[in-house]
């Protein structure tokens, strides 16, 4: 097992840099999944939009409008209401809508003025914004109509509020037994793991493999009595050990974060199998890239292009349901697409209901990617062995 031992020896020399990557990626995986889970939890509550209301009138009418909107939406209080702060919060999605009720709002309403009663701001053409626009229009129209019919402001507010409460309930009809993820944190953790495992293996394992492709070590191994097949098997075993260690290093903390009960539940185990298969794919890809003698500087760029590119195209960072049909058609040719599809399905993060057949199909396709990449690795290493230095 000399090559296997040599592999571990080379890997050990890089243990500090691997630890640095490990700490960073573990922080990344936990924070990302926590942040996305929080974000989605608020998004799924019956279209409650984070809204910022600046009430400068502080009258009965302005209070009524504010209360009507806040009965459905989430109020966001900011430290400052400067235009720059409001723009920042709108652009980066912390708030979806800004309503400013100017001083004299109630006076204008009583005087029958309906033009530009309030000032609003939203991202152009955003559906969230149009939704709130309609609600404001609805309420102000009813209020101004009541006032114009001779009612006082408190009377008008009372009439409109009674009419609002008498609105018909929405009927619901379900077509399939789909469960929305109650706690999506674990599923997002596994989703981000695809990016983390890929970059971690590319950044950590590739340099070790590239070391074995360098002329001195390659010539030393080539002149030994060991058969090329045995050499490859031992190198492959080394990679498997390394990948297993990386996979375990991310799976063991998940037991601490989510608890053994959740990880060892049916869905948890299916996620574990999925991540293990994806680790195989990432290892095969790393083996393939390791056949090229790429300098460390360029290797960073390549691993980030592959990792971030796959992350954005396959739905790790952007939900798959938001990606266009063309993008999704193209991303089907990437293994991360099938990995993410499984986590989405298991966690109820998409509209696709869980089906064991689809799960098997996705795992099967991931395995096909593994075999294809492994074959490419064998072909490439054979080609590089024959090519002159």
């Amino acid at each position: 097992m000399q090559i296997y031992n040599a592999f571990l020896k080379v890997a050990r020399t890089r243990v500090t840099s691997i630890l640095i990557y490990y700490v960073v990626f573990l922080i990344f995986a936990i924070l990302s999944s926590q942040n996305t889970a929080d974000d989605n939890r608020s998004r799924f509550e019956a279209s409650s939009v984070p809204i910022c209301i600046i009430d400068e009138d502080k009258s009965a009418a302005s209070h009524a409008l504010t209360e009507y909107l806040l009965s459905m939406h989430e109020s966001v209080v900011l430290d400052s209401y400067e235009p720059e702060t409001l723009l920042d919060n709108l652009y980066y999605g912390r708030i979806g809508y800004v309503l400013s009720i100017p001083e004299g709002f109630e006076r204008a309403l009583l005087a029958g003025q309906t033009k530009d009663l309030v000032t609003t701001s939203k991202m152009p053409d955003s559906t969230n914004g149009i939704f709130i626009d309609r609600q404001i229009d609805l309420y102000l129209r009813a209020l101004s109509a009541s006032v114009s019919s001779g009612a006082s402001v408190p009377e008008a507010v009372s009439i409109v509020n009674t009419a609002v409460t008498q609105s018909p309930d929405v009927h619901t009809v379900s077509f399939e037994g789909q469960s929305a993820g109650e706690d999506s944190f674990m599923y997002y953790y596994f989703q981000y793991l695809s990016y983390v495992l890929l970059v971690m293996l590319l950044e950590g394992l590739s340099p070790v493999l590239i070391r074995f492709r360098q002329k001195d070590l390659r010539s030393r191994i080539a002149c030994s009595s060991m058969k090329p097949f045995v050499q490859k098997v031992q190198l492959g075993l080394g990679c498997m050990t390394y990948s297993l260690a990386i996979w375990l290093s991310f799976i063991l903390p998940s037991f601490l974060i989510f608890g053994a009960q959740q990880i060892l539940s049916k869905n948890g185990l299916l996620c574990l199998i999925n991540s293990a298969v994806f680790t195989l794919v990432a290892t095969a890809l790393t083996l393939f890239i390791g056949t090229f003698s790429i300098p460390g500087h360029a290797l960073n760029m390549i691993s980030n292009i592959i990792g971030l590119g796959m992350g954005f195209l396959c739905g790790v960072f952007v939900p798959q349901q938001f990606l266009g049909d063309t993008v999704l058609s193209a991303s089907r040719f990437l293994p991360a697409y099938w990995y993410v599809r499984i986590t989405n399905m298991l966690g109820g993060l998409s509209e696709e209901a869980f089906s064991i057949d689809t799960y098997r199909l996705c795992i099967g396709i991931e395995l096909l990617f593994f075999f294809a990449l492994f074959a490419m690795y064998l072909a490439s290493s054979r080609f590089h062995r024959r090519s002159p230095d």
């Binding site: 020399t13 939704f131 409109v160 619901t172």
Partner: protein, 366 residues
Amino acid sequence: MFSIIKYTWIRLIRNKTNLFWVLLFPIALGGLFQAAFSNLSSLEEFSPIPTAVVCSGDESSPLLTAAAANPLLSVYRCSSEEALAMLEEQQVDGILTIGDSITLTVDPNRSSARLNQSILQVFTEQCSINAALIKEAPAAAPALAADADFRKEVCYGRRWQDPYTQYFYNLMAMACMFTALSGIYISLENQGNLTVLGARKNCASTNKLFCIIGELIAYIGFEVLLNIIAFLFLIFVYGVDMRARLPLSLLTILISSAAGVSMGFFIGSASRRSESIKIGSVTAITLLCCFFSGLMQGNMRMVVEQHAPFFNRINPAALIADSFYCLNMLESLRRYTVNILTLVLLSVLFCLGGFLLTRRKRYADL
């Protein structure tokens, strides 16, 4: 000094693999971003809501006319069975059943249609409130029917921009931060225990500080050139909307690349450890900084702003991305100036730190 800059440039240009990947990195990732976000903006934009309308009473009901005339709805008239089938096949987002009153039926499992369902709910509320008000106060009817513009829409910045452009700001920030990998080589090539070139330089009579300054200038110039090419490629070939105040954008790239190279130089000088550890440290720091500035998750910058605003003021990636944001979105250049000055300050501190750490490190000390 000139010959140091000249020969450093020649070395950099001859390193074709490095040149190729440094240039390709933002261009390739930009292309992938462009592909991934191509559909997202259109998803954010509002389009009429596909709605099935079932008439369960009088065909001449004013509610039917109101539904058909509403610009927010794309109405399909059908029977209740057809409507349910359309709802199941996700061809419509809701069913409006119109008789004496109006009712809405939706599929609660369709999370992607949640907002459209809520807009439909507002429509049914509107119909019901109008009916209740006319019943309560008939004199209100003309005012309910009248057109009124209650809202005045304002924009708090120079203009509105696609929120997904922020990913390109962060991509440029990452490209500028990755110049730190080049910065590492300045320190490596001056450390005799790590590179042959370092050993050679340690024996030379040229002043070490003089040599490092020359190399810093050469590396910064080279990286700025590559990043500017990539930036121009993004805006002119991919059509990314980052053209506002172009000269200032180029200045941002210059300062940001200088900050990146000097950060790499500082990290490289901080220890005598191997190249792999230095590269690992720089990559990890860069990825972490970019993560917190919103490269992987667009709202991360605001999350940091809420919990640790000071970090946004010193995180180079957040400063770079925010500088592009200020140039494109804000009228005032005050915040941009503060960002740029902070980047300059960071560059100076990194360079001074690097100089102090490499000072008096002779071959015999290593």
